[in-house]
Amino acid sequence: MSAQPQPLRDVRGPSALGGGTRRFFDLLWLMSATEFKRVYFGTVLGYLWSLIRPLALFGTLLFVFTKVFKIGSEEAEYYPVLLLLGIVVFTFFQEATGNAVTSVINQEGIVRKTQFPRLVIPLATVLTGLLNLVANLLVIVVFILAFGVDPQWTWLLFPVALLALLIFTAAISMALSVLYVRFRDVAIIWVVVSQVLFYFTPILYPIEALHNRTYEQLLMINPLAPIFQQLRVWVLEPNAPTAVEAAGGWLHLAPAIGLYFGICLFALWIFNREAPRVAEGL
C-alpha cells in the first residue's frame, strides 16, 4: 500500500499496449523466452527439430535444382548457401506469421479472463521465431564459411535487412491474428498466400535466372523480394544485382516500398480497431 494518495485515473478498457509499457515488454519477453525454451530444451530433439525442417527442405531443393533442373549455379556463385540462407530466413517469416494466425484464439483464456496487452500475443510468436532464427543462423555461419565465402564488412548490414523483414513479419502477424478471430478462413488463405510468396521471392533461384527484364521487375513488386535480394548482396555476393538494380531503378522499386508501408499501416489500423473487442468475438 502506498502511503501518498494516488489520483483516480480513467480505465479505458483493453488495448494493444494496455497495462503499461514496462509490463508489456516483461510479458513479451517472458512469453517468447519460455516458449523458445520449451521448444529447445523441453524435448531431447528440441533444437535438432527446428534445424531439421529447413535443412531437409534445403537438401531436397538443392538436389532438385542442381541435379534435375540445373539452374542457379551459373548465375549465383554460392547457390547452395544462397538457397540455405534464403530458406532459413523465409522459414522465420512463414513460421512466425503462421503461428500468429491462431495465436489470439490459442490464448483465449488469457484474452477473456485477464487484463492482457493484446499486442503481446502476436508479437510473442514473432519474437520466438526470431530467437529460433538466431539459433539457426549460428549453423548457417558455419556453412557459409565452409563454402568458402569470405567475411565482408557488409555482413554488418545483415541486421538492417533483418529488421526490415522483422517489422514486416510483425505487421502481418498482427493483422492475421485479429482477422482470424473474425474470419476463420484466414488460416487457409494464409497458408496458400505464404506458399505463393515463397515462390515469388528470389530464394529458389537467383533473380537473374529469369532472363526476362519484365518478370524481374514484376517480381520486385513483392515486398519480400528486395529484402532477400539485399541479403544476398550483403552476405554472399557483393557483385550480385542489388534490389534497386534488379528492379531497374528506384522508381520500379516504389510499388514494393509502397506495399511494404501500406501493409504495415493497415496492420496497425486493423489491430488497433479490433484489439479492444477481441475478447467479445471469441
Binding site: R112, V186, I189
Partner: protein, 424 residues
C-alpha cells in the same frame, strides 16, 4: 460497520454495455465477399444499462447477481477485458483481476516458471515475483513440486498454486470471481485467514459470488445486479435477502411454462401437478397462503406453512381422509400430515359433486431451498388411495441463517461447559 470517510478506490458512472448478436454470423472472408450485406441484422443484448456506484479504499465489496444479470460483464469491464459503450470507470492504483484461477498457466512449464509468468501477468515485475516464488510455493504447500511440470499436477495442486500467486499479487485492488473455496478444508481455512489479513491490511477487494454466506461473512457492502441494473446496494444481509428472493421468485413461475434445464445439466423436477388417474375424486386447486390469506409461491424461513386444497367428489364415497407429504428438491420426504374428512366424530360421506376445502397449517422448520407438497386422498377402512397428486404445490423457502446443505432447523438447546480440571 465500515466508516464512510475513506477516499474512493473505484468510481463507476453510468456504465453501458451491449452486445450485438448477429442473426446470421459471418465468420469467413469468403462469405463476406459472396454476401457482403449478410449478418448486418443483429439482436442487441443490453448487458449493462446505466450502472453507477463507488467503492471506497479498503472496502470489501460484494457483487451478486444471477447468471445473465450483467455481473460478469461488469467484472470484465472493471478488469479491462471489455470496453464500455458509454460511461466512465475510474480507479486508484493497480487492479489485479482473478476471474478464473490459473489462467495462462502453461502445462509444459514447471511450477517455478509458471509462477513468474503468472506473477508478471497480474502486474508484478519479473524481479519482484522471483523474490516471492518461495513464499508462493510455501503457501501452496508445493515446495517439493517446484520443478515439476504443471501437466503432472493434480487439479487440486493447480488451484492451490494459482490461489497462492493471487495472494502475492500485491495489487491495490483485487477483483475476485468465485474463487474462495479451493483446496481441502485446511487450505480453505488458510485462505480464509489470508483474506481476513488482506481485509485488515486495508486492501480494496471486490468479490463476485453466488455464495451469500461468503458475502455476509466478508463484505462491508454488497450490490445486487439484475437485468443490467443495480437492484440493491448496501448492507450485505439485505442484499443477500433480495438476491434469494429474486432467485426463487421467478424461477418456479418460469418453470410452469416450460421445463428449464438447470445449468448443472440436471433437469429440474417437473413441478406441474401430476395426479394419478382417478374416477372418484378430483383436485380442483392447491396453493399456499401467507398469514394475510394471499396466495404465495415462496415462504421466508420460519414463516408458517399454510396449504389449501379444493377437491371434488366425482361419485358417492362412504368417507375419506386426506394427507400431505412435504418433500425436498431431491425427492426425499420430510414430513407427513393429514386428517379424515369428518363431521363430528364420524367420517362424512361425500355425495357426487360435493366439494371439500382442506386447510392445513404447520410450523416451518425448513431451510432455504425448493420443496414440493404431494397430496393424497384415502378411502376409509384401508381400502387404498382414491387420489394421489404428485407435486400438488411447490414452493421455495428463502432467507434464514442455516447452512444451505441442511434441510430443517429444529429447536435445540445446546450447552457447552468447560469442566474443572482435576488438578490446579
Amino acid at each position: 460497520m465500515h466508516t464512510v470517510a475513506n477516499p474512493p478506490a473505484i468510481q463507476v458512472e453510468d456504465l453501458h454495455k451491449s452486445f450485438r448478436i448477429p442473426k446470421h454470423r459471418v465468420d469467413s472472408l469468403k462469405e463476406r465477399v459472396v454476401r457482403p450485406f449478410a449478418g448486418r441484422d443483429y439482436v442487441e443484448l443490453r448487458a449493462l444499462d446505466g450502472v453507477s456506484f463507488e467503492i471506497q479504499q479498503g472496502e470489501f465489496f460484494g457483487i451478486v447477481g444471477r447468471n445473465g444479470s450483467g455481473k460478469s460483464t461488469l467484472l470484465k469491464l472493471l478488469a479491462s477485458i471489455y470496453r464500455a459503450d458509454a460511461g466512465k470507470i475510474r480507479m486508484v492504483g493497480r487492479l489485479a483481476p482473478f476471474i478464473e484461477l490459473g489462467v495462462g498457466f502453461n502445462p509444459e512449464l514447471t511450477a517455478r516458471e509458471n509462477i513468474v509468468l503468472n506473477g508478471v501477468m497480474v502486474g508484478l515485475t519479473p524481479g519482484e515475483i522471483r523474490q516471492r516464488i518461495d513464499s508462493v510455493l510455501e503457501f501452496a504447500e508445493l515446495n517439493e513440486f517446484a520443478d515439476l511440470k504443471l501437466k503432472n499436477y493434480s487439479s487440486g495442486m493447480l488451484v492451490r498454486l494459482a490461489f497462492s500467486v493471487m495472494m502475492e499479487a500485491d495489487a491495490d485492488i483485487l477483483l475476485i470471481d468465485e474463487v474462495l473455496a479451493v483446496g481441502d478444508a485446511a487450505f480453505q481455512q488458510k485462505s480464509a485467514d489470508a483474506f481476513h489479513e488482506m481485509k485488515a491490511a486495508g486492501k480494496t477487494i471486490i468479490l463476485v459470488t453466488h455464495e451469500m454466506g461468503t458475502v455476509e461473512h466478508y463484505c462491508h457492502r454488497a450490490m445486487l445486479i439484475d437485468g443490467g441494473r443495480i437492484q440493491h446496494l448496501g448492507d450485505p444481509g439485505d442484499v443477500g435477502r433480495h438476491y434469494l428472493q429474486l432467485n426463487f421468485e421467478e424461477e418456479p413461475n418460469r418453470n410452469f411454462d416450460e421445463p428449464v434445464e438447470e445449468p448443472g445439466g440436471d433437469v429440474a423436477p417437473e413441478p406441474v401437478p401430476i395426479p394419478t388417474p382417478s374416477d372418484e375424486v378430483r383436485m380442483l386447486d392447491a396453493w399456499l397462503e401467507n398469514s394475510d390469506g394471499e396466495r404465495v409461491a415462496n415462504l421466508e424461513a420460519g414463516e408458517r406453512i399454510q396449504v389449501r386444497v379444493e377437491m371434488e367428489a366425482l361419485r358417492d364415497l362412504p368417507g375419506a381422509s386426506v394427507g400431505f407429504i412435504i418433500a425436498n428438491a431431491e425427492g426425499v420426504g420430510i414430513c407427513e400430515f393429514g386428517a379424515g374428512i369428518v363431521e363430528g366424530v364420524a367420517y362424512a360421506p361425500l355425495a357426487t359433486g360435493s366439494s371439500v376445502v382442506i386447510r392445513a397449517e404447520l410450523e416451518n422448520p425448513l431451510n432455504q431451498g425448493r420443496y414440493f407438497v404431494h397430496f393424497g386422498v384415502n378411502r376409509i377402512n384401508n381400502k387404498g388411495a382414491a387420489l394421489y397428486v404428485h407435486n400438488a404445490v411447490d414452493f421455495v423457502v428463502y432467507g434464514g441463517t442455516a447452512a444451505s446443505n441442511t434441510v430443517v432447523t429444529l429447536p435445540a438447546e445446546v450447552e457447552a461447559v468447560v469442566q474443572e480440571q482435576a488438578e490446579r
